[in-house]
């Protein structure tokens, strides 16, 4: 016989999802960043699907090893991956309360981001000097150059935007306006930018 009122039952069944608390123990900022990154991942997926559709539909596809400086791109990738480490260290130091060190690690991360963007710009310059444009290129497969520009460009925007975001965070950490929680949210974004590159890199340069 069910008792009138369900308070007791509720007590025993009390779970993370029972309301009155965050089920994942995270604030809205972090949760929202996770959700945003999921949706952004799908934007990139749309573009990569576009790349692969056109590429598989094209009778030929230029040999990247002859056109692009694969070694330079390897360096870019290494820089970006290392910057995720400095980012993580910065969150760690903030959590320990070592704000100065945290800001140093953040600065390193930002510099790495700019280095990546600068190398990407060199890549673009070479490519353009070789005659690549959005609608044509010397290798006779227009899709090769326009997918390159659009996808690396969109990723590059994410990197530069991320640098600005981290710069603002560094400012806030230095002033004591933000704590480890806020920085972790920024770290999620930075890790994502890194992760996406791991998909773009092989799709454009390696495979």
């Amino acid at each position: 016989m069910a008792a009138v009122g369900t308070h007791e039952a509720e007590q025993t069944a009390a779970s993370r999802w029972a309301g009155g608390r965050s089920p994942f123990d995270v604030g809205w900022g972090k949760l929202m960043m996770w959700l945003f990154l999921m949706s952004d991942a799908l934007t990139f997926s749309g573009m990569l699907v576009g790349l692969w559709t056109l590429r598989l539909g094209s009778p030929t596809w230029p040999d990247r090893a002859h056109i692009m400086n694969i070694r330079l791109v390897g360096v870019m990738t290494a820089i970006l991956i290392c910057s995720s480490t400095t980012m993580a260290l910065s969150v760690y130091e903030t959590r320990r309360g070592a704000r100065r060190r945290a800001v140093w690690f953040l600065t390193a991360t930002i510099l790495a981001g700019f280095a990546f963007a600068a190398l990407q710009a060199t890549e673009w310059t070479h490519f353009i000097l070789d005659g690549a444009r959005l609608n044509t290129n010397p290798w006779g497969v227009p899709a090769f150059s326009f997918t390159f520009f659009i996808i690396t460009g969109y990723h590059g925007l994410h990197v530069v935007g991320g640098c600005v975001y981290l710069w603002a965070m560094a400012h806030r950490i230095a002033k004591g306006l933000s704590g480890a929680g806020g920085l972790e949210v920024a770290g999620l974004y930075w890790g994502f930018v890194d992760l996406v590159w791991v998909f773009i890199w092989p799709s454009i340069y390696l495979l």
Binding site: G5, T6, H7, M32, S39, G50, P142
Partner: protein
Amino acid sequence: MDAVAVRQPEMAHEPHPRESFIRHYIFSIDHKMIGKQYFLTTMFMALVGGAMAMLMRAHLGWPDNGVLSPEQYLQAVTMHGTIMIFFFLTVMLTGGLGNLLIPLMIGARDMAFPFLNMISYWTFVPGVITILLSYFVPGGPAGNGWTAYAPLSAVPAAEGGAGLGQTLWIIAILFVVISSLFGSLNFLTTVINLRTRGMSMGRLPLTIWGAFVTAVLALLSFPVLMAALGLLLLDRLAGTSFFEASNLIIGGAASTHQGGDALLWQHLFWFFGHPEVYILILTPMGVVSDIISTFSRKPIFGYKAMVLSLAAIGFLSFLVWGHHMFVSGMHPLLGAAFMGSTIIIAIPSAIKTFNWCTTLWHGRIHFTTAMLFAIGFVSVFVTGGLSGIFLAIAPVDLYLHDTYFIVAHFHFVMASASLFAILAGTYYWFPKFFGRMMNETLGKIHFALTFLGIYGTFYPMHFIGLHSNDRRLYETTAYPFLSHTGPVDVFVSLSAFLLGFAQLFFIANFLWSLKYGPVAGDNPWHANGLEWTTTTPPPHGNWEGALPAVYRWPYDYSVPGARDDYVPQTVQAIPLVAAAGAGGGEA
């Protein structure tokens, strides 16, 4: 134990003594005001979209009168679809109803991030302005259908409206997409994090479940559309050719664009497009479930099945997009796979329908206007769902694709169903938000005329479609095989005018009731949801004092032995009619 203090991140919700006009009405961050802004803006867009429909029917009923030129006709079709889908239904259901209802129904003070909520509305407004602006540019607005198929949409020289009009179309939709993304971030975070004490996921009203799954779909499908629109814009403006195949001949000259693929657009678009149609129906399904339960004075039948089928529909909706492309020359095996997944998605839809009927069964039904529209929803949803099953069968669809049969299908299952739920919801929640009741007599006239108008307009389209009348054909009189359908078209047009006329009753009722409707109490329908436990209209921060704690699901109607036939979610122990015997409790 009894005095439960609910801990919630308090977000500066002390009543503001006096907000400036701008802070209160324009750049408000209160979810109720933002919801009203969305509601009114999208209602206005519905009028624009409706006017397009009237123009189309004026032409199609009497094609020889030359009401519209061929170009204008295609533009009217396109703008009707675009405005109704993107600027009315999508945004009304999420920005409008979602904003108004989510915090109130889960016991939150506001959205998780009220400022982003305000930004979201103010990202939508430029979209509205852009799409309206496109009427006034050389060549007029886009004329390529709401699906904007490439290469027509990618080639500025293709036809009237394919120039600046199409570019503005893309930009306008991009605004809507970004605004919706902001919205779904907020909705998901709010529902996950800000439910009040005791409001477990298993006690959420189905309206909220619908809005929640909708937000998931929007979060995962809109970004793909965003990518596609971005690439399309680049194709038009920057010289890329993602969607333009090699060697197109445009106006006698070879196009300079090389290497794209028009089918890529279709895949990306429908990967978004099918979830989108469910974005337009899941919240309505929830709204109708709640209204049917309230006015049957019975618990909703099969709550768990309702939630699971919402989730199943949400999941499956990402696997069926190919059913829009059966004629695109896809591999027959792939076609068969999409056919299979499409048939499967009909199962959860049927489960929901049976549950609505079972909820009505033996209920003590109160035929309020809201209830009539909710029952009407079930009717039009079934009618449209059944034609969906025809279309799911690939060989049948090869014949029916792009005929009026499709138009009939989705106007029943999506357009009418969504519209009915929005109207039902408006009649139902109007008292809460505006403090007054709407007029029931005018409401019932509105319902009767709308219901007749809908069936009169869309039911005959099945037959026109079976006669192979193409859905975007301008000159129906030019083909002998269509000579029998002329009178049907006249009938359809007259019904459409009736349908349009019927909405005047709604507008009049809405405006009149705002000022002269009888004052509504806090809970005029004797309903259980949390939104009815606060004052009418709800104050800033939604509840005076502490947030309510929740002890039961929102469907405890006609609990045996209880004193009243409803038990609001905040009631801990059910007041009984007699001292001994009867026990109640959660169903």
